[in-house]
């Protein structure tokens, strides 16, 4: 009988001890991380394109963090962004939801065919990053460096004078591609 009592007491004592240690550690070593929304927002490409059906990257990050949105609705970020978010949240990555658009291989930039522009300012209002310069009845132009390629300006243009063109590769931005995986070892992943 006494053995049982002693063992129960010992276990209780141990439980209290370790519980105290755990509790202390939880308080003492608490990690003050960025709020999850900030971390998610940092992973999104900030094109503010709205293809996810949210008005910008931050609202989408907010929706994901609240747990009521899927993580595969960002075509500009593509597979790599989905993987990064999945990694952050500890969930399985999903394939990109084609409903919201497809991932593009090349980065695009908007270019206004300036002689066709009628100066309606509609594209200026649509641009989420203020990358279009111009005034009413004046020709508009895109600051290529600031353009995120979201193509939100294409649709509102009444005369269809905005093209999305791939950004040019320069000697500076070029780099060697990954050595081509030969077909016979392609399965060796």
């Amino acid at each position: 009988m006494s053995i049982i009592v002693i063992s129960v007491l010992a276990l209780v004592a141990l439980a209290i001890l370790f519980g105290a240690i755990l509790g202390f550690a939880a308080v003492r070593f608490k990690v003050e991380g960025n709020p999850i929304v900030d971390q998610l927002d940092a992973l999104l490409p900030q094109t503010q394109c709205g293809q996810c059906s949210y008005p910008g990257c931050r609202p989408y990050a907010q929706a994901i963090s609240e747990g009521n949105e899927k993580i595969n609705k960002c075509p500009p970020g593509g597979e790599s962004t989905i993987a990064a978010i999945a990694d952050l949240l500890g969930v399985e990555p999903e394939p990109l939801d084609a409903e919201h658009g497809e991932e593009k291989d090349v980065t695009l930039v908007a270019v206004i065919r300036e002689d066709e522009c009628i100066g309606c300012t509609k594209c200026i209002q649509a641009c989420p990053v203020d990358a279009i310069l111009g005034a009413a009845k004046q020709m508009h132009t895109v600051i290529a460096q600031e353009c995120t390629g979201c193509d939100l300006c294409v649709e509102p243009c009444p005369v269809d004078c905005i093209d999305m063109v791939p950004t040019e590769r320069t000697l500076q931005s070029w780099h060697w591609p990954k050595p081509s995986a030969l077909p016979l070892i392609a399965t060796d992943a």
Binding site: G56, A131, E146, T148, H175, K178
Partner: protein
């Protein structure tokens, strides 16, 4: 004499590939013919491309500036011979990408008419500024292959420099241009060093030369002896032949035992390194006033009939050189500019010589066959044994292959100097360097993307703030207008004078808007109460319907939602009015 007591250090790794240098050192340097057309890329150096200052149709003289350095880290470009500017357009340039870039094309008139130029006779008495200005003017870029503007290195404050290192190692196989230059122009090189000493005032100066160039070393030794006075402190140091001893970081390590700190430059440890050909160009620029318009280039490889070194004008197409060296064009299967370890392939022989083109290798399929098929990595570790940067090449390979950029960075991929020693020894024929270049490029791209997205986010936030401010301002204006109107109305009521005329002119909506605030609030309150009652009633009805399981429950629920919406709206309006 100094070389006997010198303590040499060693660098990690390294390899001993077959030399293949003797083929091109049998004949002296010969003057290459002036080509009919010269093609000069405006980016022949590291840094901002030069900006053309001539236009098609312009007549140019030999040595005349045709493109100006566009920045501090940039270089002037001069006409290598007299003639006419034919075009300024994009063409194939010598670059790993095989892409096109802007080039200035000159049709030579064959007369070699010089622009006015003058050397500096008493250059050893001149001050540093004058000398640096001459080097800048001459457009000299590191001629060992890297192409870093020489005047930038010469402009490092003298107080920071205690050691000047002249890189005469020329460690890559096949290349012998520096070797032949030292054999034939040793005196000029020593004078060039004196100019650099005058500028940088180092305590000591080392010339590092591999022991596979005894004739060049002897020539330099002789020149040192002839030129010797006590102010000199130039040590000729013969180092063992081992690739890549000519790498800047490795040569510094061999000669001084010190390491250039990570992400730093040699000046951080008081050193500056100059290639021996650049030193020669400095002498010509300062003492003779000749800008960098020609260089020594080795033309070699087993497809070349008479391999040798040429003194060649910048802009000379490689095909011209190959013709003069009697190359069998149909035998060429790989055309390399630079050495076999770090050089890059040329897609066509019409690409022209630049300031950094120290060697042209025209190789048949026998000497440089197509790369063998990549086998599985067996982790043999021969690559780590060969790596002069003491990296773990195979770990980097696994990370690069799986695009795991984070780990590649953590394993210091940025410290890879791309010397190719790892690929050279790899028994599985893995193109390791290309994997690293890919990973480095991706890392850079990711950094650019990150910067871009941060910028976009900033602009987006700024824009939203601006829009919010605009809305707020509009709102404030509207309210101010309403307040003003209300005042007027109150004033009107207070004065019961003939108001009919006035009120006639007032448009109705404005009057509605201008309803006195307390009254409006009261009305809104009523509305909210009414809505509340309706909601309560709808709730009761729904609860009853649900209890009796009536079919109308669905419709009632919708109705309730509508009522709730109305209530929320009314509450909002009231709140706004309260503010």
């Amino acid at each position: 004499m100094n070389m006997h007591h010198f303590k040499l250090h060693d660098f990690a790794g390294g390899i001993h590939p077959p030399q293949h240098k003797s083929q091109s050192t049998q004949a002296p340097i010969s003057q290459a013919e002036i080509p009919a057309r010269l093609i000069l890329a405006i980016a022949q150096h590291i840094g901002a491309p030069a900006k053309p200052v001539v236009k098609p149709g312009d007549k140019v003289l030999k040595g005349q500036i045709i493109a100006e350095g566009d920045d501090f880290i940039s270089c002037n470009l001069h006409a290598p011979t007299s003639g006419t500017v034919a075009s300024i357009e994009t063409r194939e340039v010598p670059h790993q990408s095989g892409m096109d870039d802007t080039c200035i094309e000159i049709i030579s008139d064959g007369q070699e008419r010089w622009v006015d130029h003058q050397g500096l006779d008493d250059y050893l008495q001149a001050d540093a500024q004058t000398l640096i200005a001459r080097i800048t003017q001459a457009g000299i870029a590191g001629m060992g292959g890297a192409g870093f503007p020489t005047h930038v290195k010469a402009s490092i404050p003298a107080s920071k420099i205690d050691t000047l290192i002249v890189n005469a190692a020329e460690c890559e196989p096949y290349i012998s241009s520096d070797d032949m230059l030292m054999r034939e122009c040793a005196t000029e090189i020593i004078k060039g060093i004196e100019i650099l000493q005058r500028i940088l005032r180092p305590q000591q100066c080392y010339i590092g030369i591999e022991d596979n160039k005894p004739q060049a070393a002897a020539a330099l030794q002789q020149a040192l002896k002839e030129n010797r006075d006590d102010t000199h402190n130039i040590h000729l140091v013969v180092i063992p032949t081992k690739y890549p001893s000519g790498g800047e970081k490795q040569l510094i390590q061999i000669l001084t035992g010190k390491e250039v700190p990570v992400a730093g430059i040699p000046a951080d440890i008081g050193m500056v390194c100059q290639n021996v050909a650049s030193v020669h160009a400095i002498y010509e620029a300062v003492a003779l006033g000749i800008p960098l318009i020609q260089r020594i280039t080795t033309v070699t490889g087993d497809a070349v009939g008479r391999p040798q070194n040429y003194r060649v004008l910048l802009g000379t197409p490689v095909s011209e050189l190959l013709r003069q060296a009697q190359a069998q064009t149909d035998k060429i299967k790989r055309l390399i500019m630079g050495g076999p370890m770090m050089g890059f392939t040329l897609a066509s022989p019409h690409i022209a010589i630049t300031k950094t083109s120290n060697c042209i290798i025209a190789a048949s399929a026998q000497t440089l066959p197509d790369p063998a098929m990549e086998q599985a990595c067996i982790r043999c570790g021969m690559c780590s044994e060969a790596c002069p940067a003491q990296l773990l090449p195979q770990q980097l390979y696994w990370f690069a292959k799986s695009s795991n950029l984070e780990q590649a960075q953590a394993h210091n991929i940025a410290d890879c100097i791309e010397c190719g020693a790892c690929s050279y020894v790899c028994p599985s024929n893995i193109p390791l360097v290309q994997y690293y270049r890919f990973a480095k490029g991706e890392i850079k791209q990711a950094q650019r993307d990150k910067q871009g997205s941060e910028q976009a986010k900033l602009r987006f936030d700024t824009r939203n703030a601006r829009l919010a401010r605009e809305v707020a301002e509009k709102d404030a204006k509207r309210k101010a207008r309403a307040a003003a109107a209300a005042k007027k109305q109150a004033a009107k009521k207070a004065a019961p004078a003939p108001a009919t005329n006035l009120s006639k002119g007032e448009p109705a909506p404005v009057a509605a808007k201008a309803e006195p605030a307390p009254l409006k609030k009261e009305a809104l309150k009523q509305k909210v109460l009414a809505a509340q009652t309706r909601v309560d009633k709808a709730r009761e009805r729904l609860a009853m319907a649900q209890q009796q399981q009536l079919e109308t429950a669905g419709a009632l629920e919708l109705g309730l939602n509508k009522q709730i919406d109305k209530l929320t709206l009314a509450q909002k309006n009231l709140e706004e009015a309260n503010r």
